[in-house]
Amino acid sequence: MKLHLKIWRQKGPKETGAFKDYTVDNASEHMSFLEMLDFLNTSLVQKGEEAVQFDHDCREGICGSCSLMINGNPHGPETGTATCQLHMRKFNDGDTIVIEPFRAKAFPILRDLCVDRTAFDRIMAAGGFCSINTGNAPEANSILIGKETAEKAMDSAACIGCGACVAACKNASAMLFVSAKVSQMALLPQGDPERGKRVRGMVAQMDQEMFGSCSNTGACEAACPKEIKLENIARLNREMLRATFVE
């Protein structure tokens, strides 16, 4: 297939960027989206032009490295799919595809399509854990957790920290990401002793990192490659209330 690409090129965080046009001839519909970009890059390099920089690693939809706004959608048009798992068969011969980085104040652009999402790590450091030193743990089966609760916690824990929810949100809010971790821990007995401290710490750090506030439009849920549900945000809000009034 033949594709027309409009790709955001930007040399560094402080430089101004712009779209540049490329044409890819002979892409295969069985290629993944990132393989199509590899294919483009090989041809650029052979001509001595700089390769387009994009983040990726596992290419299996689990590491959360890949990003990209594809025609205005974080991770492209297919629901529940990270960019690395998107295949060219979802596009048509002759299509024009606009490719941009995830845009948010808290995610500065490093180069081209690569952004810095370490703000998420700092939010995690502010409470996304159970305080348990190695060697301190009780026998695993002494903590009983119902199958359904464990599965619910697993659904929240499936977040890959990609930041698509932030990119999708007009306020660049990180609520879906934060709520997924808060929910996982709030559902499990292991998370109980620190639940108030955790939610307060993570939310305060989120605000400090310049993420916007949540206005419940649900764009995040629609963009999330792991289909993390809005009910996590509702749970976070309850946890916040509980932390304010109960603790």
Binding site: H30, M31, E35, D38, F39, N41, T42, L44, V45, Q46, G48, E50, A51, Q53, H56, D57, R59, E60, I62, C63, G64, S65, T81, H87, L110, R111, R117, T118, F120, D121, M124, A125, A126, G128, F129, C130, S131, I132, N133, T134, G135, A137, P138, E139, A140, N141, I143, L144, K147, A150, E151, A153, M154, A157, A158, I160, G161, L188, Q190, G191
Partner: protein
């Protein structure tokens, strides 16, 4: 000489003895010592978090944007532990025995026993961190079976076990980072080890964003940098997984052990075209319910659902009735290759076999199958556009894991004092073949439970004069690293790094893959030598030194070329078949691997000399498990 430093006493007592004999560092003194950890996969994150909790000053490096993105995140199927929750005959001894046998008797008994022993603590630790393992209705933990065993000892979190275990370790790591006990350096790649007076005293790191090279000194360095499967270009490893940290350490004096021991995993999505950038694993857990078959007739043209039962060959069940579809990986992979060699392979290229869930769906219903494997089925469908609930999956073996790695003693210390190696990066526990769900176990065993004792023992028992960043050894390493990058940037050829890497991969897969022979390996070595020249003269890296993926790849592929050659040399030298290393000259009449215990019951540890590497042999003795020809029939 190679001293494995195995503690005295009966095997059940060795680890206890070591813990008791080992030196300690008093809590108040720990913060005076800096430890560098390279890598934040299961092994690195767990080691760093634990050392941080204990009070050491820890610096953590990863080339990833965030510690949570390490390759461990992609592990699917599960983690083993000898809990015997299923009451089906498991024990520490059985896990030890299965691992030694599964590794085809090429691992150290003492290390493996310790691994089995601490496996039970790992599960406790992970549960306490909030890892949402799968559970029974009554609230207890549940298990599944993996290959090479007859008990059910694998713990899992859907098909995302690696993700959940890594996020657990990562959360502990971030807790320490929040308390300023650990400093994290993301997007920084280690490019050299600083060696002072024969001891590892730091690293040179390259900031991938700015291109800057910096020396960081420390009292000990831990490499937890993962495996080197990407030598083959196509593998199930994450795209950026590489061997550079270990290779640079090798060039500074750390021995490389059993480099030719690579694992080819039987159940991966087959190659579909020459643009392919990586291969995707379909977890071994699928073999609990999926039946592997090919058509009886060579050159069969009908689709799978049109082939009646009587014309199907469930070859694993036929050849290995005792273990059936759950034979170890090396055996399943070779059997699949044999079917394709007999022209009974399926799919457009003839290079795949079926893994069929029809019977399991009939027995358990699609809802149950979806609950167990839903995300794997969805992943398969995204890649192939075929629905595995209706048509059998097509699978083929692919490079997956490297059992070889830097040589370490019982304390996980390499042949450079002060340089420790944990996780897939070391060679220690899996012999010539790793059993499924044992890599996660080993990574966490090393990081949570072994490394902390080893570091205390080393720091407590060694006099370490302070070393500054501007020490001449640091400046020397810095200058060499800079010269290397400059040389790469200067080349103005016509090929991209990927193009050259693919060529290396083809040679390795063809001649150092599932089957190896003398002529092939010799030819491969000379092809690789030519490729090295081609790389030096014809690679092209446009752009500058800041955030440049082409430069990152070139830096890594130049090491893969050298390592690939060593792998072939090691494979040539080991004139026996064992586990994943199959020398065609050495097989039983039934085509199984034929070991030569008289001549090859040793670890092959290679020393860098600048010319032909020097081979050191660490003899392996089996005092607890009886050496026998492996049988899964």
């Amino acid at each position: 000489m190679l001293d494995s430093k195995i503690p005295s006493g009966p095997i059940e007592q060795k680890w206890n003895n070591r813990k008791f004999e080992g030196k300690l560092v008093n809590p108040a003194n720990r913060r005076k010592h800096t430890v560098i950890v390279v890598g934040t996969g299961l092994a690195g994150a767990s080691a760093a978090a634990t050392l941080g909790e204990q009070g050491y000053r820890v610096k953590v490096f990863t080339f990833h944007e965030s510690p949570r993105r390490a390759h461990s995140i992609a592990a699917q199927g599960g983690i083993n532990a000898a809990k015997n929750y299923q009451n089906d005959g498991d024990s520490v001894y059985r896990l030890f025995y299965d691992t030694i046998k599964g590794g085809d008797f090429r691992a150290r008994e003492a290390n493996v026993y310790r691994l089995a022993e601490v496996s039970v603590n790992i599960i406790d630790q992970c549960v306490a961190q909030g890892v949402p393992f799968a559970r029974e209705y009554g609230g207890t933990l549940t298990n599944r079976s993996f290959g090479g065993t007859q008990v059910s000892r694998t713990f899992y979190a859907k098909g995302q076990t690696g993700q959940q275990l890594l996020l657990g370790a990562y959360s502990s790591l971030m807790r320490q980072a929040g308390q300023k006990a650990i400093e994290i350096f993301p997007r920084q790649e280690m490019v050299d080890v600083i060696v002072v007076d024969g001891k590892a005293r730091g690293i040179i790191a390259r900031n991938l964003v700015t291109g800057e090279l910096t020396a960081h000194t420390a009292d000990a360095v831990i490499l937890a940098t993962g495996g080197y499967g990407n030598v083959f270009f196509l593998s199930t490893n994450a795209k950026q997984s590489n061997a550079s940290a270990c290779w640079r350490a090798y060039k500074r004096g750390a021995y490389f052990a059993n480099p030719c021991f690579t694992q080819i995993h039987p159940t991966c999505v087959p190659v579909s075209g020459d643009y392919q950038s990586k291969l995707t694993l379909m977890s071994e857990s699928l073999r609990n319910d999926g039946r592997v078959w090919v058509p009886l007739k060579a050159g069969e043209k009908r689709g799978p659902n049109e082939i009646p039962e009587s014309e199907r060959d469930y070859f694993l069940e036929r050849m290995y009735p005792a273990f059936g579809n759950l034979v170890p990986r090396d055996i399943a992979s070779r059997a699949a290759k044999r079917m394709c060699d007999e022209n009974r392979g399926v799919g457009p290229t003839g290079l795949s076999v079926y893994m069929d869930f029809r019977d399991a769906i009939q027995r358990l219903g699609s809802a149950t199958i979806a609950e167990k494997y839903g995300n794997l089925f969805a992943m398969y469908e995204k890649i192939t556009d075929e629905n595995p609930y209706q048509v059998p999956m097509r699978i083929f073996p692919a490079v997956h894991y490297t059992m070889g790695g830097l040589w370490v003693d019982y304390n996980l210390m390499s042949s450079i004092p002060g340089l420790f190696v944990a996780g897939e990066a070391n060679f220690s526990d899996h012999g010539a073949n790793r059993l499924g769900a044992s890599a996660l176990m080993q990574g966490l065993a090393d990081g949570y439970f072994v490394i902390p004792y080893s570091i205390a023992n080393y720091i407590g028992g060694t006099s370490l004069a302070p070393v500054k960043n501007n020490h001449e050894a640091a400046l020397g390493s810095l200058a060499e690293s800079k010269a290397r990058i400059d040389a790469l940037m200067k080349a103005k050829g016509g090929q991209s790094v990927d193009q050259l890497h693919r060529k290396l991969g083809k040679v390795m897969w063809e001649f150092c893959g599932m089957a190896r022979n003398e002529a092939g390996l010799k030819g491969a070595i000379s092809s690789i030598q030519k490729l090295k020249d081609e790389f030096a003269n014809d690679v092209r890296i446009p752009g500058d030194e800041h955030l440049n993926s082409e430069l990152e790849k070139a830096n890594r592929v130049s090491d893969f070329l050298e390592l690939g050659e060593l792998m072939c040399l090691d494979a040539l030298e080991r004139k026996e078949s064992c586990g994943g290393h199959f020398r065609e000259e050495m097989q039983t009449p039934e085509g199984e691997a034929l070991r030569d215990d008289k001549n090859f019951s040793h670890v092959a540890a290679w020393e860098f000399t600048g010319k032909t590497p020097k081979l050191h042999k660490e003899p392996l003795t089996f005092e607890n498990v009886h050496l026998a020809q492996r049988s899964y029939k």
